[in-house]
Subunit: 460 residues, 2 copies
């Protein structure tokens, strides 16, 4: 057994761990980064990145068609989407599941990459195989999450796809069942439908993406249905049948219906990868989210930080990275303050229409006891909508705190609204008074004039 | 002669006049809106709107090509851009130069539309033909600007195109000379090149779009040249030759060179349409911009407002509309404050790359005596750049006031950056401290993560 010493040991080289390690190394701390799989994590190889690669071509095509004036291949022949090319591009985006491209970044920062499974061996100690890594300052856990497999009879035995298989598939099945109508479910239903699969999506709650504004759920459902997806909401799956875990798979529902497809994607939530990290030694519960304080530290263990999905605060790559920066700053002795967190975090669902939201929905604001009013305008209802997202319906809603006269929530749906969200995020986090926002003039003819319509609607 | 009385008389139904009239009518004031041409103005029929219709198809096509996975028509045949379809779509956007579609809006607000040429006839009086319109409260002038024709020998006789002809052309000429490398010049050079014309652009200043960051000028120049446009900067035109004002037109330059094309666009600035408004009667100079105070009133004539291009503060549709809202509010007795104005206004140039800017450039901030630092990042340099604007170079720069710790300027260049600008506008107008901006987390994987890169580059 060899023992090595570092200022900080980080377990998990997904986005949160990478950002934390990089920020510490940038301040000349010695950092060990422990990873048992691919450097870059779930997000880079099996989630955000490949899913966007699968979604984007059909959306760019749809937008180009709406714009008009462009000639496409005769669709009678083989269709305007080149599925093989889309899958090749996806392979490029995930670097054919190699993390070689990450090594330059690691080397430039002189981070010690340790390949293997890291476990906490004691205070400020991490074991990786035969090596013991001692941390002079802190240990940061960023193990992430894996797909949860709910205890539905026959489900596990049916060898369902998770986010990993659905994002890295080498061919598009003829039909796909999707269990779960959250972000992963609706994005993959949208992508696979655009690539030629017959898709059925089953959600137990009464509506898709149930945490978002109701109009967003409705518009995404309508668009999925228009793309040929069968949407079944408000009913639970009770059993899965698949002979020997291959071939056609059948999903049985509590209402008596059943659906059969070539593959089944299970996308009903995430499970923290905290089951084999040695947390029991510290009196913490394995396999659960690890509670942390606002500095991302585990109460009672001031040397131990948990960032990203595994602390259960919010399951979003950008928020994991944010937490990675906060933890690094705290380790560096800087004062930190958590100003964006949990369900109120900015978020984008890359379906078509896209759903971009930050802060409260109208309902969550009311539930939080705020005195709020919501105003709406069609996303494409300004002059700018003549050129981008034309005739593709969307809604922009802001939720205003009538007492504090600031925006506390915003949801934009429509074509290509992802980059429009940051204006709302700055308005909310910056607590810019709405009377001042009125003077932030959106350019003509951009769709950002929806801000003008919203504030006029509010009465400014 | 008949006399009619209104609360407010507005001359000019372009965007500024329309917005002002609409806002007043919305508060139940009686409003006369006088227009001698088309309701909707230069912007709707001969500028912003048709120019975007001409620019967008080639940009949507270029983006779809960058995304990959889409099959286009064989270009060997007739090209992927359907020029006739683009022109038809442009005609749709300008409603075939009819303002009928505006009438519903006018009628709903019970605005009295008066067709004809309005002139100020005395205090609170406007004459339109045989009618005298009396204003109980105020007269608002929103006459706009027309293309300036500089005194270059032979230019006027050559019957050059202005913004009107170039945006409404029924066919694309084989070659187009563009005199002036400002916004109109570069946008139309870009559009016409994409539609098949051989374009030459001549600018007297050393660089195109000279008021913007130098990198923006360079990138737009490179892109125009890559699209086959010949860019000639830093040399003045000295004469124009065109026999009888038809056929080939030749532009002679001071450096001895000359260029010949099928048409010549003159785009070297604007001239306020204040020459036949009766301003001499009030002791004001006709044909010049009319100076106004921060409430948009003409000093010495408290009943007279001038909004939009004609007051010379800033030549942008959205700023004219903003001034229209301010003037209306002031007429309604509300307190108003001008917080966005002049060269610091938000602005977008819809070339490819687009140039979206607000507030100071680094140079203008230094010239204003501010203690600033600029930081930059590639616009497409984040994970989001893998999916939008891939391999299409752009630059994001923010200019930070080191004393006040706020952003005072931002310029984004790249593919589809127009909607990204409003985040910067809110940050600047909201005077959000940069330490707070650090907590406005951009979503992964959106290109808005450039904000993260910029603030990290600054040292946060």
């Amino acid at each position: 057994m060899s023992t090595k010493e570092f200022d900080v040991v980080v377990i998990g080289a997904g986005p949160a761990g990478e950002v934390c390690a990089g920020r510490l190394a940038g301040e000349n701390l010695s950092v060990a980064l422990v990873e048992r799989e691919l450097v870059g994590g779930e997000c880079s190889f099996y989630a955000c990145m490949p899913s966007k690669a699968l979604l984007r071509p059909a959306q760019a095509l749809a937008e180009a068609r709406r714009v008009g004036g462009i000639r496409f291949a005769q669709e009678a022949a083989e269709g305007a989407i080149d599925v093989a090319a889309v899958l090749r591009r996806r392979d490029e985006v995930v670097h054919n599941l190699s993390d070689d491209a990450q090594m330059l970044w690691i080397e430039e920062r002189e981070i010690a990459l340790v390949r293997g499974h890291g476990t906490v061996a004691g205070e400020r100690e991490v074991r990786v195989g035969d090596d013991l890594l001692r941390a002079r300052r802190a240990v940061v856990l960023a193990p992430g999450t894996g797909a949860a497999i709910p205890p539905i009879p026959g489900l596990r035995e049916s060898r369902p796809w998770t986010n990993r298989e659905v994002t890295t598939a080498e061919a598009i099945p003829g039909s796909l069942l999707v269990l779960g109508g959250g972000v992963v479910g609706v994005e993959m239903a949208s992508a696979y439908a655009s690539l030629g699969a017959k898709v059925t999506i089953v959600e137990a709650l009464p509506r898709l993406i149930a945490g978002e504004e109701e109009f967003a759920s409705g518009q995404v459902k309508d668009a999925l249905e228009a793309a040929g997806v069968e949407v079944v909401a408000g009913t639970k799956a009770t059993a899965v049948q698949r002979k020997d875990g291959v071939g056609p798979v059948t999903l049985e529902l509590e209402d008596g219906r059943s659906f059969t497809g070539d593959e089944l994607l299970v996308a009903v939530g995430r499970r923290p990868r905290t089951d084999a990290l040695g947390l029991e030694e510290l009196g913490l519960e394995a396999g659960k989210s690890v509670e942390v304080d606002e500095e991302m530290r585990v109460p009672g263990h001031e040397w131990l930080y948990v960032i990203g999905d595994a602390n259960g605060r919010v399951l979003l790559t950008h928020m994991g990275k944010y937490q990675g920066r906060l933890a690094a700053d705290h380790i560096l002795g800087r004062s930190v303050s958590l100003r964006s967190d949990g369900r109120l975090s900015p978020r984008v669902i890359f379906t078509e229409p896209q759903v971009a939201a930050v802060g409260h929905t109208l309902q969550s604001a009311k539930d939080a006891g705020l005195n709020v009013r919501a105003v709406e305008t069609p996303t494409e209802g300004s002059a700018g909508g003549s050129f981008v997202g034309r005739d593709a319906p969307g809604t922009a809603r802001i939720v205003l705190d009538e007492d504090r006269r600031v925006i506390v929530g915003a949801t934009f749906t429509g074509v290509e609204v992802a980059e429009s969200l940051h204006a709302a995020t700055i308005a909310i986090i910056g607590e810019v008074p709405i009377e001042r926002l009125w003077h932030a003039v959106p350019c003509f003819p951009t769709r950002s004039e929806l801000w003008l319509n919203l504030l006029e609607e509010y009465g400014l």
